[in-house]
Assembly symmetry: C2
Homo-oligomer: 384 residues x 2
Amino acid sequence: MRKVAVIGIGLTKFGYHWDRDLISLAVEAGSKAIRDAGIHQKDVEVLYGGTMSGGLFINQEHLGSMLPDYLGFKNIPSVRVEAACASGGLALRQGYIDIASGLHDIAVVGGVEKMTDIGSYSITKVLATAADTERESVFGATFPGLYALMAKLHMHKYKTTEEQLAAVSVKNHKNAMHNETAQFHKEIKIDDVLKSPMIADPLKLLDASPISDGAAAIILASEEKAKQLCDTPVWIAGSGHATDTISLHDRQDLLTLKATVEAAKQAYLQAKLEPKDIQAVEVHDCFTIAELLALEDLGFIKKGESGKFTESGQTEIGGKIPVNTSGGLKAKGHPVGATGIAQAIEAVMQLRGQTGKRNTNAEIAMTHNVGGTGGTAVVHIFRR
Amino acid sequence: MRKVAVIGIGLTKFGYHWDRDLISLAVEAGSKAIRDAGIHQKDVEVLYGGTMSGGLFINQEHLGSMLPDYLGFKNIPSVRVEAACASGGLALRQGYIDIASGLHDIAVVGGVEKMTDIGSYSITKVLATAADTERESVFGATFPGLYALMAKLHMHKYKTTEEQLAAVSVKNHKNAMHNETAQFHKEIKIDDVLKSPMIADPLKLLDASPISDGAAAIILASEEKAKQLCDTPVWIAGSGHATDTISLHDRQDLLTLKATVEAAKQAYLQAKLEPKDIQAVEVHDCFTIAELLALEDLGFIKKGESGKFTESGQTEIGGKIPVNTSGGLKAKGHPVGATGIAQAIEAVMQLRGQTGKRNTNAEIAMTHNVGGTGGTAVVHIFRR
């Protein structure tokens, strides 16, 4: 397989875009990425795009045909992939495989979701289709409820506290203060989280990532093209992807996301790296407990110790391993299909030194994107 | 890129499966394919699956996580792709790219759709999400309506007759008589088509493919693995994929599916073959006019001459180019996500000589799978 680099990035602001549709967001991100790479639309040979549910959110499937047309890529192959909230990460991986295979030299990979302004369905009902409809959702198990089960068990088993969960949120809101595309620019305190409305005990409103609209795109190139076109390519050093039971209740251990463990193993192996080598990481913090579990499953800390680790500031910028410097899903926003690509953009910006006040001087960064309660996980390692 | 072979096939009966869900159909097809390949579940390294709309048909996204679990493939990477009615063909292509890249050696690629027994939505409304929702469907343009426009123009421009359109349907029903998994086993006459209820002038009920449930799966292997495991591998000689405007009204020429032309060009080039070399072809006959356009766009006959060509019997078994020996979408059935894989299975069965009374002795066969009115096309060439 050939080496593959990121040579361009483009991102919309995440948040509520009441006045814009999915196409408009996707075109903004894609066009910015093309401009950032210094290429032309005609140079793009293939498109990979992730959305969770064009069907249920905006009543539009077949976005793989629609997007290249609106982006001005005439007749190119274009692939929509879906893995719930890991759709963006999966699009990146499939684009990576395509370029690595030698089939194409330049790809746009992107993710997009338009979640506000939906019609007859509720957003929670759409998101619930990422769980097992007939064996979880139909019995009332929403995502806050499922992640709350994991949080309760982590608290019971490892003495993790609500304050430690809240510390994840406080840190991510702090990081987002310096990220202009983030949905929230508002510092919060532990007490704000603890006093926010209860959603699913022990998770409160401020333990949860928000509803967002947004799009993200990156340009991938083969080694030869990257060296021709770009002075600061960022290389994909490792790519991993794994699945697990879609239903939480089918797992032997509710506190280990096997898909994360397995995807990380693949990525570390390919990159010939270990957890201690990673200098910045974007993890999938759809709820605060998810960030804690990710730190453990990615190998940064022993199972059960992530609460104390976070509370002690080790995941802040300047700490042992800076986590979610972008603000994470919690504060940057979580337009589900776009999230995996937005994570990759933060990694690339860190490695390029474009992150300003949230800079980590990292030379190696990781991204971790999850679908459902861990039914899918996609992990990538990037290096300068 | 490495050579890739089909080493196993599995198919459910197509039709109305009121008593079964999507998972049950997918597991049947996948298990049959594994058995046919003579491998074990643990040998499968990756899964690629196509469905058009798990979200709208069965209220279930994230099938990429669900299916490997139910099929007994623990924690493997699994990718759901979607390109409306070309979802199956696209899954095949993405599985092909994966194995060709060297990443994995054995893949299951499949397609599945459960279309009957849906809840609050109508099936026509779900299918309409494959067209441009805001610029076509919302104005009442259903798929029968859009294909009817093409048929009217073909009749106007090339003197194509309703009898010639009907001849497509008559032939496909005849072929399906010898295909035990086909939805319909009923011979029809030109007059039956002409007298069937008008759907969208000039297309009648018997010009249209039916609503179906069903699943199809094949096992792909690298050259080395294929030679180890299989005495009769069928090789993927060429793969092509292209897109076009999702909206019919945005095209310069309503009678040329540019995506088909471009995808076929890629496949012919890779296989170093020409239209005259193809000895059997499965084309995307969602409506009778679609088969006529496909014959022209794939290069078997000059633009405008497909009606006479079909009427004269040249697309029957024994004719110049046998088309849709399986019965096609019209008579074999059209569970949209499964169709592209089912086409590949017919090609493999023809090349293996397993087609009994519909045998063509072909050594080279082609498949052609379309999404929407030609917003996506995927073309594959297979050889013994």
